[in-house]
């Protein structure tokens, strides 16, 4: 089984190793253009497309599942070995990539810090969890749809949804700190994750910009805001030292998702007859 797994997936393994080495080299040389930094969160989807989807969809599409599941190795063992070996490889790849990105953000002239949306998901330990979750996502959609191209499309779409969900959820992993504007401007610490901005009401209540503006709908905004006593501005932020705590929170969430998707896959493979 180990030999079979290596033989069927060596292309992915070798390409992934080369790509991570290449990414490390680019980041070390600091030759990453801004446009590519912006697309860093997209990286895990390739794990889903090339490691996850073919795992089952390719067998079904080519009919090779009939051969492979009528050998002396039972289906359940086939799946357990494939998931364990490939899952471990994917997690290791993710952790390696995460370490490379984390090392790069620590360098002085990196354009983004490690807590920003662009790199949080592909740095540190959570990169491994993202790789694993998207791998199981690809495997599950391949097992359900049984064809590569639709499974790839579904993996891409669900992945985009997951990333947007993570962006929206990240601000809520802990109660944010509040910084108020003073004589010296806003005292938001460096490298913090800013999750919201707005104005402080007369009673000390915090209003988002949208709420404050809709209260002033129709009127000249600057004067109206002053009349209503919205003098001070605020920023909600998560301090930079919460990075590791957030990393483990998101890792936990993603591992639950990965577990559920692996369960779906196993159910499809073991229980469903052709």
């Amino acid at each position: 089984m180990l030999w079979l797994t290596w033989r069927q997936h060596r292309a992915q393994t070798l390409v992934t190793v080369v790509l991570i080495a290449g990414a490390a080299l680019l980041l070390v040389l600091d030759a990453v253009p801004f446009v590519l930094v912006k697309t860093l969160p997209v990286v895990p989807v390739f794990v889903g497309l090339f490691w996850g989807v073919p795992l089952l969809a390719r067998e079904y599409e080519r009919g090779t599942d009939r051969l492979v599941w009528t050998q002396s190795v039972p289906r359940s063992r086939w799946l357990v070995v494939k998931f364990t070996v490939l899952g471990t490889a994917v997690v290791l790849a993710g952790l390696a990539f995460g370490a490379v990105v984390l090392g790069w953000t620590a360098s002085a002239d990196a354009p983004v810090d490690r807590f920003s949306d662009e790199v949080f998901g592909v740095s540190g330990v959570v990169a491994g969890a993202w790789f694993l979750a998207v791998f199981t996502l690809g495997a599950a959609s391949g097992a359900v749809l049984r064809r590569m191209l639709p499974a790839m499309a579904v993996t891409t779409a669900v992945f985009a949804g997951l990333v947007v969900g993570a962006y929206l959820a990240r601000g809520h992993y802990a109660e944010p700190e509040v910084a108020l504007s003073g004589a010296h401007g806003m005292a938001v610490p460096a490298d913090a994750l800013v999750t919201g901005t707005g104005v402080v009401g007369p009673a000390g209540d915090l209003l988002s910009w949208d709420d404050a503006m809709s209260a002033c709908a129709g009127a000249e905004p600057v004067g109206c805001m002053r009349d209503r006593g919205y003098e001070q501005q605020y920023t909600l932020y998560q301090p930079a030292d919460r990075y590791w705590r957030f990393q483990w929170t998101e890792t936990g969430l993603l591992l639950v998702i990965a577990l559920v998707l692996a369960g779906v896959t196993a159910r499809q493979v073991v229980n469903r007859s052709r």
Binding site: L36, R58, E118, T197, D210, A212
Partner: protein
Amino acid sequence: MVWLTWRQHRAQVLVTAGFLVLVGVLLLVHGLGADGLTGDALTARFQSIYTYVSWLPAVPLVAGLFWGAPLLARELERGTHRLAWTQSVTRRRWLATKLGLLGLAVTVAGLLLGVMVSAWLTAFDGVRSADRFSDPVMFGATGVAGGVWWLFAFAIGTAAGGLTRRTLPAFAVTIAVFLTAMFAMFAVFQVRDLYAEPERMLAEGPPADAFVTDSAFVSPAGVEVSGDVPECATAGRDTYLDCVDEAGYRSVLYYQPADRYWRFQWTEAGLLAVVSVLLAGPVAYRVARRPV
């Protein structure tokens, strides 16, 4: 042939149309909500969605993967090319119709997305990064360049499928070539800076919406220094600019004026269109000639 093309590719067409409608509605709602906002509130509203908008340069890649890569690879992988190319429709016509119709469709999709993004940007006049010219993300997503990036990705995908003759390797090659092309254009050569000779000005600040490509200091004698000013080599980070000022240096800016936007758009579109033809042409020729 038109019916066949629709029948084989309707899933891609419908999903892309659905995606465009979804993005259009989101941008419309978001843009309308910015009506009447000013200053920090406007910036905050723009920033709330900028992260997602900054993924736009990756969208053409998805078009290349799902429109381009399967076009030839799926037929060749499943052996259905033997059926398709032995009918009364010649192989050359089969290829020409498919490439023409689908290429047109992806280009139109890219152009539509560009129109929607441009319209949305007008709601954020004056916000940093919300500029269709100086912001690399917005430049590539708006105007004619937006459509041609989609066509370019489609050509890469088709060529990769014709060469590898299998879907999965075609996907991998498409991603690799597309990312390499982006990387080469933006990091290695910074081609957009080369579309025209930049204007030079001794500046307090550049004109609005201009695309600043470089800056330097000019000594009182009129000599331009690139890098650090020699008189201020020992000055600290906080006092550096004051020191430069005292030494009589002035800053000079190189920029592309805002009215060059369309010229740059057409330059980039032409460049990508030529590369697309160069990529897809030989593959199409090879596929048309090779024995079934």
